[in-house]
C-alpha cells in the first residue's frame, strides 16, 4: 500500500533532520567548550604534516561558517578526523568497534523482548495470583537496580568467585579475531558476551514485560475477545490469536523506547566489562580528551539509535493494518 511508503519516507526524512541538528550541536559544542576551536581536531602531538592535512581537510583556518559546511560535507563522507589517542582515523576505530556494540545490543534486545512478551502474557494470565504479584515486584526491581551494579554483582559471583565466565573484553588475552565471521562462530566470543548480555537483558526485559501485561489487560476486556469466548474457541487460541496478537501492537512502538534504553545501557555495561564497543570508546575518548573520537562515537551512537527506531516504526506499521497514512 502506498500509504506505508509515504510514512516511511516521512520518518526517514525526520531522522536525517535530527541527525543534522545533532551534528550541528556537536559542531558548536566541541568548538566552544574547550575554548580553542582548533582543539576539536588538532593536538600538539601531531606532527606538522598531519596538522597541515587536517587544517586543510576541515578548513580550520577559514571562518566558522565555512568550517561548518566543510564539517557537514566531511561527515557525509565519514571523515571525522584523527583520534588523538590512537593515531588512527576515527572512522577506522569506529568501524572496528561498531559490530561489538551491535552484537551486544541486538542479542540482548531480542532475548529481552521475546522473554518479556511471553512473561507478560503469563503474568496477565495469572492475574491476581501471588505469582503475578511477585513477578511485578521482580520486574520493578530490575528497573530500579543500577545496571553497573548488577554487572558488578554478576561479575563477582560468576566471574571472580565461580570462574565460569571471563570478566572483560571479547576474547581472551592475546587472542585476536581475524574477521567478524570468525568472531561470531567462536564459542569463546559467546562466553565473553554472556555476562554483559545477561546484564543488559535483565535491565531491558522489564519494559516489554510490564507493557505486555498491561496491554493484555486492556485487550482481554475487549468485545472481540468476549465474542471469541462465546464461539467456544479454545483458551489458547483466544489468548494468542485474539488477545496477544492485539496486545503486541503497542510493544512495537515501545520497541523504540527499548532501543533507546538499550543504547543507554550499552555505554555503562561496555565500560564495566571493558567490552570494546562504541560506549567504551566514547567514555575513554571523553576521559582522554580525545575530541575527534568522542564526537564520532557520540554521533554514531545517535545514528544507530535513530535507525533502530525507524525499523521499529516500520515494524509497527506492518503489524497493524490500521496504520497507513
Amino acid at each position: 500500500m502506498s500509504g506505508k511508503w509515504t510514512y516511511i519516507r516521512k520518518r526517514l526524512f525526520q531522522m536525517i533532520i535530527i541527525l543534522w541538528i545533532i551534528a550541528t550541536i556537536l559542531f558548536f559544542m566541541f568548538r566552544l567548550m574547550p575554548g580553542n576551536p582548533l582543539v576539536a581536531y588538532i593536538e600538539p602531538t601531531f606532527d606538522k604534516e598531519q596538522q597541515d592535512i587536517l587544517m586543510k581537510q576541515f578548513g580550520l583556518d577559514k571562518p566558522l561558517y565555512y568550517q561548518y559546511i566543510v564539517y557537514i560535507g566531511n561527515l557525509f563522507r565519514c571523515n571525522m578526523g584523527v583520534s588523538f589517542f590512537y593515531g588512527d582515523t576515527v572512522l577506522n576505530i569506529l568501524k572496528r568497534n561498531l559490530p561489538n556494540t551491535l552484537y551486544l545490543t541486538i542479542f540482548s534486545l531480542i532475548a529481552a523482548y521475546i522473554f518479556g512478551i511471553f512473561f507478560g502474557i503469563l503474568l496477565a494470565w495469572k492475574r491476581g495470583t501471588k505469582f503475578e504479584k511477585a513477578g511485578n515486584i521482580g520486574t520493578i526491581i530490575t528497573r530500579s537496580a543500577p545496571q553497573f551494579w548488577v554487572a558488578m554483582v554478576l561479575l563477582v559471583v560468576f566471574s571472580f568467585k565461580l570462574k565460569l565466565f571471563p570478566s572483560s573484553g571479547t576474547s581472551n588475552a592475546g587472542v585476536i579475531y581475524a574477521n567478524e565471521l570468525q568472531k561470531l562462530t567462536s564459542p569463546d566470543f559467546w562466553k565473553h558476551l554472556f555476562l554483559p548480555g545477561l546484564t543488559l537483558f535483565i535491565y531491558l526485559q522489564g519494559l516489554p514485560t510490564l507493557l505486555m501485561r498491561s496491554n493484555m489487560f486492556d485487550v482481554m476486556g475487549e468485545a472481540y475477545v468476549e465474542m471469541a469466548k462465546m464461539r467456544g474457541l479454545s483458551k489458547w487460541r483466544i489468548m494468542f490469536k485474539y488477545a496477544a496478537r492485539n496486545a503486541i501492537l503497542p510493544i512495537a512502538t515501545s520497541l523504540a523506547l527499548g532501543i533507546g534504553t538499550s543504547m543507554e545501557g550499552n555505554v555503562i555495561i561496555e565500560n564495566v566489562f571493558s567490552w570494546p564497543g562504541l560506549g567504551k570508546t566514547l567514555v575513554d575518548a571523553v576521559v582522554n580528551k580525545d575530541y575527534p573520537l568522542a564526537q564520532g562515537a557520540f554521533f554514531l551512537i545517535a545514528v544507530i539509535m535513530l535507525f533502530m527506531n525507524l525499523i521499529a516504526d516500520i515494524l509497527y506499521s506492518v503489524l497493524d493494518p490500521r496504520v497507513s497514512v
Partner: protein, 336 residues
C-alpha cells in the same frame, strides 16, 4: 418441550460496594422457531441474563441460583467441554457492540473460516462457499470479506456479525440490541431481514432492546426492570392491553415509525441501585400509581390471563390505570 427454559435465574455481581443483584429471579421460555423480545431500560439486567445464558460473563459475575435448560440440558451443570460444543453450534449471539466484535488485525472473512474449520469440520474451499451464501443472505458483497473490520461501515459490520452468528445454523440466536447503534432506517431494514432469516431457517430468536416499539414483530415479550420481570406474554397482548404501569410508561416513551400522532412522555427518575435494592416493588418510586403497599411488599408475578403475566399489586384496577396512563398529566405529576 421448550427449546430454552430459564428458571428463576439469579446473577449477582461482586463489587467493592457489595453484591449487585443485577438479575433477581428471571424465568421465561422460548419454543423452537419462536421469537421473544426482552425489553427494559439500561441496567435492568437484560444483557446480564443473556450473557448468563451463553455462559460468557465477567469474572465478578456469580450465578447464585436457577436453571438454564437448553435442549433438555441444564447449561449450568454441564461440563466445560460440552458447553464449548453447544456454543455457536446450537446457540449463538449477535453482540451489541458490533463495532468492536471483530478481531481488528484479521480480515473479516477470518472468523468465519476459523469457526467453519474448527467447529464445522469444513475445508477452506467449502467454507468459502458457505460464507458466500451467508453474505448474500445478509446483503453483503463477498468481495468485501477480504477487507479489515476498520474498513467496514457500522451497518456493514452489523450485517457481518449477524452472518457470523448464523454460520453454523444454530437453533437459537440471541441478539443483544443489534440495531441500537444504527440509524432508524437501517434499523428497520435489519430487523426485517432478521425476521426473514428467522422464518427461513426456523430459528428461535431472543432479542434484547430498550425500545418497546421494536418488539411488535416478535411472538412474545418480556418486560424487565431492575433485575425483575414486570410483565410477560405474547407481544399482541402486552402491547395492545398492557397490564403493568411500567409497560404503559415504556410505550409512551418511544417514537415509532408508524404511529406519529403519539406524544412522547418519558418516565421521570432512574432505576434503583441494585447493591441494596429497595424493599417492595422496585418501580414504586417512579410509578404514578404506587401506594403504601408498593413500598413494603414486592409484587409476585402472576398469570392474569393465559400466558400473560404481571407483577403488580393493582392488577384488579388495571383498566383504570391503563386509561390514566394514556394521559400526559399522570406522568408529569411525578416530577414533584
Amino acid at each position: 418441550m421448550a427449546l430454552l427454559e430459564v428458571k428463576d435465574l439469579r446473577i449477582y455481581y461482586e463489587t467493592s460496594k457489595g453484591m449487585n443483584q443485577a438479575v433477581d429471579g428471571i424465568s421465561f421460555s422460548v419454543d423452537e422457531g419462536k421469537s421473544i423480545c426482552l425489553v427494559g431500560e439500561s441496567g435492568c439486567g437484560k444483557s446480564t441474563t443473556v450473557n448468563g445464558i451463553i455462559q460468557v460473563m465477567p469474572k465478578n459475575a456469580k450465578i447464585i441460583s436457577g436453571e438454564i435448560i437448553f435442549n433438555g440440558e441444564d447449561l449450568l451443570k454441564i461440563s466445560n467441554k460440552r458447553l464449548k460444543e453447544i456454543q455457536w453450534r446450537d446457540m449463538s449471539l449477535i453482540p451489541q457492540a458490533a463495532m468492536d466484535s471483530l478481531n481488528p488485525v484479521y480480515k473479516v472473512i477470518d472468523p468465519f473460516i476459523e469457526i467453519l474449520r474448527i467447529k464445522g469440520g469444513m475445508s477452506k474451499k467449502i467454507a468459502v462457499r458457505r460464507i458466500d451464501e451467508l453474505f448474500k443472505m445478509v446483503g453483503l458483497d463477498i468481495k468485501r470479506a477480504q477487507y479489515y473490520p476498520f474498513e467496514f461501515s457500522g451497518g456493514m459490520k452489523q450485517r457481518a456479525v449477524i452472518a457470523l452468528a448464523l454460520v453454523l445454523n444454530p437453533k437459537l440466536v440471541i441478539a443483544d440490541e443489534p440495531v441500537t447503534a444504527l440509524d432508524v432506517i437501517i434499523q428497520k431494514q435489519i430487523l426485517v431481514e432478521l425476521g426473514r432469516i428467522r422464518k427461513q431457517f426456523g430459528l428461535a430468536l431472543v432479542m434484547i432492546t430498550h425500545d418497546i416499539s421494536v418488539a411488535k414483530t416478535f411472538d412474545d415479550i418480556v418486560i424487565m426492570y431492575a433485575g425483575k420481570i414486570f410483565e410477560k406474554g405474547s407481544s399482541y397482548n402486552v402491547l395492545k392491553t398492557p397490564i403493568h404501569p411500567y409497560t404503559m410508561g415504556l410505550e409512551n416513551a418511544f417514537p415509532s415509525l408508524d404511529d406519529d400522532k403519539k406524544t412522547l412522555i418519558s418516565i421521570e427518575g432512574t432505576p434503583p441501585h441494585l447493591v441494596n435494592p429497595p424493599k417492595g416493588c422496585r418501580f414504586a418510586d417512579r410509578c404514578p400509581f404506587s401506594k403504601d403497599i408498593c413500598f413494603k411488599e414486592e409484587p409476585i408475578l402472576v398469570e392474569v390471563e393465559t400466558g400473560h403475566f404481571s407483577a403488580c399489586h393493582f392488577i384488579s384496577d388495571i383498566k383504570e390505570i391503563r386509561r390514566k396512563a394514556m394521559e400526559v398529566e399522570t406522568w408529569l405529576n411525578m416530577k414533584s
